[in-house]
């Protein structure tokens, strides 16, 4: 079941937009594909990122994947819990496993993201 209020990238990040603030994480599908996640590298707070650029790293026991920003803007917050508990990405990727928050500069960028049915189609094809 895929939550209805989120948008997605083709690289399996989810984003929830609330006003000017975008909360970002990786989808349950991505977490399952990666396997046990052991380390997360997040961008510094205050850094300005561009849409779809690689802003962090997710390391599992078998692979290291880049984290891509679904929208551009300034990083306002990162999830401090992930440093000590990277496994939250596996156990609760949509909740406690949130990764960072971005202050959105251009809401039109959201139109480039997948909606829930497009994302469901993407992962069912895989």
């Amino acid at each position: 079941m895929v939550p209805q209020d989120l948008r997605y990238t083709k690289e399996h990040e989810w984003v929830r937009i609330e006003g000017d603030l975008a909360t970002v994480g990786i989808t349950p599908y991505a977490a399952e594909q990666l396997g046990d996640i052991v380390f997360v590298e997040l961008p510094d707070v205050g850094r300005t990122v561009t849409q779809f650029s690689a802003v962090g790293v997710i390391e599992s026991v078998k692979a290291v994947s880049d984290l891509f920003a679904p929208v551009g803007g300034e990083v306002t917050e990162t999830n401090a819990e992930l440093a000590g508990a990277p496994e939250l990405l596996n156990s609760d990727p949509l909740g406690r496993g949130w990764m960072l928050r971005i202050k959105v500069v251009d809401h039109a960028q959201v139109d480039r993201l997948l909606d829930q049915s497009a994302y469901e189609a993407l992962i069912s094809e895989a």
Partner: protein, 457 residues
């Protein structure tokens, strides 16, 4: 005797199975102009004749010289146990321990090597080793750039010129800059890293520094103010990479003790023969916070499904074969046999033995300094050294050549290392270790005295 495993019939069957007419067919994709046109080797010889031919070639090497050469590779005594254990088939031809279930022995020896280097350097994490001190130092500098996300590194002129050159080669490919920190020209600190210059270079706000690289002892043999250099680097937000010689760590302060973030060096002095320049052993270690930045293989300790202690390659996902172009380095190998030699040497000689090796070398170097000064070649610099130092010799290159004719390898003419520095044109870099004898020193001093007297006439 044919040493290949396949007969003509074997080859014919394999070719038939894949539908190729000849082995040459397998290279059809390579354009004819690029194909080899034959190797033009001499006809085969018997094993006896070939051995004699190779022995004659080897005899052209001068191994008879009384040597005072250091400059990055050092003569030490290696106990017989090192070679004897290395020659064991389980070690000598073992390949990469990709499968821990059949490689516990190999993995444990590398883990022991890492542990011993961690003790010597005083840092938390040690890689399974790199090619040599030069590449390890380049990797250490790259680590500082990745960790700080800055693109400029400062390298003291006291670091081995080959290491600096290698670092610059790596940096050119990555579009990073390496600037040289000058040495103090005169006074009590002459020849050591110029701290005032370093401070000025670090203060350039437009070009923030990722790392500061300095060696202790330096290439010139001098003891460097490492704690001060580290303090200046850290004040500017840069990491401190210290280049060290492992035997000296038995008596000098370790990188961990003066807050270095990364330590590099060459492990050749630990039971590895000079062998005309290699293979040697690249040592790379760092603080725990940088563990995900360190390139190369890492062996870790864990427990298996039965709860028994086991060793594995760890943090594998970071290596080049998995991370590909995003990896921190191209390296995905190590100098396993040389690392094993170093581990056996250290285990055999022990911490007290290593201290004796370092202290004896220092004592012999002190005798050497006195003897050479009496012979007319005083030290170039006033500061403290461990077992290597530079002496002033007029016409150093010519004297060096004449001393070889007299059976003495009088160190390194510094003009070869610094051709653009006129102040080093008349200087030799000399070294003594625990294998240097008083007779060697007397012979060197006597010959040098005669050469200098002869030249003066």
């Amino acid at each position: 005797m044919a040493y290949g495993p396949h007969t003509t019939e074997d080859r014919a069957r394999m070719l038939a199975a894949i539908g190729a007419r000849s082995v040459d067919d397998l290279f059809a994709d390579i354009p004819p102009p690029l194909r080899s046109s034959g190797l033009n080797l001499p006809p085969p010889e018997s094993e006896a004749a070939l051995s004699a031919r190779l022995r004659a070639l080897a005899d052209r090497n001068r191994v008879d010289l009384v040597s005072f050469l250091g400059a990055g590779a050092y003569r030490h005594f290696s106990p017989a146990v090192v070679d004897q254990l290395l020659l064991r088939g389980e070690f000598y031809t073992a390949y990469t321990p990709y499968q821990p279930e059949i490689s516990q022995g190999t993995l444990q020896t590398i883990y022991e090597y890492q542990s011993l280097m961690a003790e010597l350097t005083g840092l938390d994490v040690v890689s399974a080793s790199h090619y040599d001190g030069a590449t390890a130092t380049a990797e250490g500098a790259l680590m500082s750039c990745r960790a700080t996300r800055r693109g400029r590194v400062l390298v003291s002129r006291g670091v081995h010129p080959h290491y600096s050159e290698t670092l610059c080669t790596y940096f050119a490919g990555a579009s990073l800059t390496a600037d040289e920190i000058p040495l103090v020209a005169d006074g009590p600190a002459a020849g050591t890293t110029d701290l005032a210059a370093l401070e000025r270079m670090l203060a350039d706000a437009d070009r923030p520094v990722a790392g500061v690289v300095a060696a202790n002892p330096s290439f010139l043999g001098l003891i460097e103010p490492m704690a001060e250099i580290g303090r200046l680097a850290h004040s500017a937000g840069a990491l401190f990479v210290s280049v060290v010689e492992p035997v000296s760590l038995a008596v000098l302060a370790s990188p961990g003790e003066y807050d270095a973030d990364i330590a590099t060096g060459d492990g050749q002095p630990l039971g590895i023969p000079l062998s005309y320049g290699g293979p040697y052993l690249g040592i790379l270690s760092c603080r725990e916070a940088l563990v995900r930045q360190i390139p190369g293989r890492l062996i870790g300790m864990t427990t298996d499904v039965d709860g028994k202690r086991a060793f594995v390659m760890t943090l594998r996902a970071r290596e080049q074969d998995i991370r590909r172009e995003k990896a921190s380095s191209n390296i995905c190998t190590n100098q396993a046999l040389c690392a094993l030699a170093a581990a056996i040497y250290l285990a055999a000689i022990g911490p007290h033995g290593l201290r004796d090796v370092a202290a004896l070398g220092a004592a012999r170097a002190s005798d050497l300094e006195r003897a050479l000064a009496v012979a007319g070649a005083p030290r170039l610099h006033p500061g403290p050294y461990l077992n290597e130092f530079a002496v002033r010799v007029p016409g150093a290159s010519r004297v060096h050549a004449r001393l070889i004719d007299r059976g003495i390898l009088a160190g390194l003419p510094l003009a070869r290392a610094f051709p653009d520095d006129p102040s080093l044109a008349d200087a030799l870099l000399v070294c003594a270790t625990e294998v240097t004898t008083p007779e060697d020193i007397a012979a060197f001093a006597a010959a040098l005295g005669e050469e200098l007297a002869g030249a003066a006439r």
